[in-house]
Amino acid sequence: MRRVAIVSREITPAALIAEVQSAEFGAISLFVGTVRDTNDGRSVAAIDYSAYTEMAESELEKIIAEAEDRFGVAALVVEHRVGALALGDVSVAIAAAHAHRGPALDATRFVIEEIKTRVPIWKLEHYIDGGREWVDPSQGRGVISA
C-alpha cells in the first residue's frame, strides 16, 4: 500500500492507519502535523497552505519510494492538506507500517523531514495582530511582511 495526495479536505489520521494496517505488520507509525498558535514569537490566527500540486505529488512519490528503499517499509501513506486551515487543524499525516517498530518510526521521520526541504508547498501565516507572512524556513522567518 503506497499512496500520496495533496488534499483540500480535512485529513482523518485514523483513515491512514486503517489504510496501512495488515496482519503482516507489527508496527504502525503515525506522524500528524497540526497548525500551531505561535511562530517566531508571533501569535498565529490561521494558515493558508498552497502547493504546486502536480510536482508536490510527484516529489512525495519519490520520497516514499526512497523510504521503501532505505527502511523496507512498503506500506506508506501521506496526505498533505492545502487551503485555509485553522489553529489545530491537521496539515499533514504520514502512516508507515512494518513488521517491526524501528523501520516504521524511521520512515515517518524521514518522510516529514524530506517534505520540509523539497516538496513544493507553502505556508502563508496570518497573525492575530493583522499581519501576514510567507514562511521561509531558509531565512528563519518570512520573506514578505505585510
Binding site: 498552497s50 504546486y52 502536480e54 510536482m55 508536490a56 496539515s91 520540509k116 513544493p120 518570512g142
Partner: protein, 81 residues
Amino acid sequence: MSLVTVQLFASYAESLGRPTITIPLEAGGTVRDLVENIRSLPGAYVLPESPRVAINRRFASPDQLVDSRDEVALIPPVSGG
C-alpha cells in the same frame, strides 16, 4: 529566440503580481539564463541569488537547458509540513 512560460507560486507570484510569466530566451538558453531574464521584471527583487527552478516537475540545475515546450516553474523556499 523563443518564449518560455514560467509558473510562479506563493511569495514569488505575489511579488511579481501574477501566476505565470512569459520570458524570452535565446536558443540553447539555460536555467541560469532564464533566471537572469526574469530579474528585469518588477517585483523580481524577491528572488534569491539562485532560486530553485523546476523543469517538468523536477528540480533543475543552473546549467540545464530550457525548451519552450518544458513545464517550467520557479520554486520559492518551501514550507510544507
